[in-house]
Symmetry: C2
Subunit: 149 residues, 2 copies
């Protein structure tokens, strides 16, 4: 119940629900508990029992998503990967984008629906609520930054 393997497996599950692939999620799990700050692709393949091609696309996903960054030590031959400084800040900002996207979806609905009062009221409620969250959530992030640093 407290082994690193189990944690990595859980992380794979959790991050998969965020839209990542299972492998990408497990990579994040490894990087979270790794005593070193970084890992390299062959090591990750070995540790997770995954082909290097799959690892390549998983790491590409993570890099494009800004969750992981790639670097190469001086005089090194292979890339290393580590979590970006504010992985979690980024994850939260992605959530925020989701809020504004839903507000826009409501706008689309308002543009499409006629002038039925109930429909409009529903969609306006949706727009206002997601808009409110989209505005307030970043403030929460700022508050966290202030209280922490």
């Amino acid at each position: 119940m407290a082994s690193v393997e189990e944690f990595v497996e859980s992380a794979g599950l959790y991050f998969e629900r965020l839209g990542l692939s299972r492998t990408a999620g497990r990579v994040i799990g490894v990087l979270l508990v790794d005593p070193d700050d970084s890992a390299d692709a062959p090591g990750l393949c070995e540790q997770l029992g995954v082909a290097k091609s799959s690892m390549s696309v998983a790491l590409g996903q993570l890099e494009r998503g800004g969750l992981v960054e790639r670097f190469r030590p001086p005089r090194g031959r292979r890339d290393h990967y580590r979590l970006t400084e504010d992985v979690f800040g980024r994850a939260f900002r992605a959530k925020m984008a989701e809020f504004t996207a839903f507000a826009q979806l409501a706008e689309q609905g308002l543009a499409a629906v006629g002038d039925h009062p109930k429909s409009r009221a529903r969609l306006e409620h949706m727009r206002d609520m997601y808009g409110f969250m989209g505005r307030e959530f970043p403030k929460l992030l700022d508050q966290w930054d202030r209280e922490r640093h």
Copy 2:
């Protein structure tokens, strides 16, 4: 760009990313713009071009998730479905649960990892940040309720 069909299709896409099936998402789209407050299963099948078996499982998902509720008009023979009063409140609360789940994932990591300072610092940061969001987000919902009603 402003037709109801397109809106329903968009809604299907958007809610699919929240973990619903495509069909369930489109059902929500229909219920959002429907001038009446409700729809019945045969009508939804007709409108979305979907088999009634698929509709049955989609509506079951939505009902179990608390997004849609089922009722039967007096002397009626068939069930009707409508969005629950605070669909969006529920959606936000689900997000909140996600936050606390990630805080717990961090706890699991802390229990599994040794005493490597960097690993612990990362995981404690994760735990604290998601914990903070899990505590503060409900307040945001309360604030919204107060300002609105």
